[in-house]
Amino acid sequence: MKPARFSFVRPQSRQEILDVLTEHGSDASVIAGGQTLVPMLNMRLAKPKVLIDAARLPDLARIEERDGELRIGCAVRQAQLEQLPNLVTKQPLLARAIPFIGHIQTRARGTVCGSIAHADPSAELPLCLIALQGKVHLRTRRKARTVRAADFFLGMMSTVREPDELIEAVSYPTAAPGTGFAFQEIGRRHGDFAIVAIAAIASREGVSLTVGGIDDIARRFDLGAGQDDGLEDALNDIAWSLNARDDLHASAAYRREITRRLGRQVIHQAKAEAARCQS
């Protein structure tokens, strides 16, 4: 349980990170918090030849609020976002989901963008990005591009990021007035990977449900007005569409049942919150 050898680079600027990524491509990994990458190094599931330390550049450790978005730089730690003043009003879904990420001891070092880059199907931050229809900002030495969350995640731990691209930031939309948010998660123990994680967003435009922990990526569903009439059937269709599988932690049937039950709960919570905001 010790990492294989790697060289370690301490870039002094974003440009230097991009230069190293251009030079080494898929032989290089960017490390910021390391709360997922270091276990993978320890177990030798990952054996990069070069590690690029992105944690030390203050420019990349900023959370900026502009144009109805929270733009979170690639060195921003999860605890930093958790402690952002008024996060619960700026984006309640994040405020409610973050406490489910690992433990305070891992959130102190783990980064938001690191979780997005890793793309674990049961992770909370990718789920929230998909639920809120956020964006991922990628940059190489030559060009920058912005990818919608729906297009960014390809499957289990797989994204559209090219080997020479840095995830320089992600953007989560802030809460629009009159919108309700709810998040629930079932795991074996608090802080474990989710067996099912589920978010609901309710506004005048309609209700959406996003489910993580089951399929290869978190999946978002539009439920129209989310009326109680027909909701049972809609949730059952969602539960069966998620390719649930049996594993050590839970059976596929259990995951479907949790999807139906928690789904109903979070939809009601989100709608109740939206109603309170609108009254």
Binding site: M1, S7, Q105
Partner: protein, 167 residues
């Protein structure tokens, strides 16, 4: 830009328990191993080496964190505190340690140093931490002896003593 090659040992300097410390280690060495094998501070224990058990928890820049999930090369410039820093002087226990002793907050002791570092940081940041907050912080630690209840009791007792102005 500094490039530390894969095969050599490199100097890494950080502050450890209030004093500057320099070690010559490979990039890939884990902070937990730097502390134990290079420096000889064996109070920090190593359990799972993938961040789950919490035995290796130390304080980094004031916040509890897993020493097994930090690479030596990342430790440059960090402010690190280990369980050895809790006692003011040899032979004397801190309020938190004394509470663990009085309330049977440990049996085998393997998980204890990590738990102490989490609770020490928590009670410093939140002197009025509620039982729920304490339990949430403890959820990042595995203990197979106590069933956790004596640990919670010890933490609450330490909180109350510290609020009354213990050492």
């Amino acid at each position: 830009m500094p490039v530390l090659n894969a095969t050599s040992r490199h100097e890494v300097t950080f502050r450890l328990n209030g004093a500057e410390q320099t070690v010559r280690v490979e990039n890939r060495m884990l902070l937990s191993d730097v502390l134990r094998h290079e420096i000889g501070l064996t109070g920090t224990h190593v359990g799972c080496e993938h961040g789950v058990c919490g035995a290796c928890t130390v304080q980094i820049d004031g916040a509890p964190a897993r020493a097994c999930l930090v690479l030596a090369a990342q430790a440059q410039g960090m402010e690190i505190r280990t369980v050895e820093a809790l006692t003011a002087e040899t032979g004397r226990l801190s309020v938190l340690q004394q509470a663990f002793r009085e309330h049977h907050g440990l049996q085998c002791g393997f998980c204890t140093s990590g738990i102490l570092m989490t609770l020490d940081a928590l009670l410093a940041a939140e002197p009025d931490a509620s039982e729920a907050v304490i339990r949430d912080a403890l959820s990042g630690h595995l203990c197979r002896c106590t069933g956790y209840e004596p640990i919670v009791r010890a933490a609450l007792a330490a909180r109350d003593t510290l609020r009354k102005g213990g050492n």
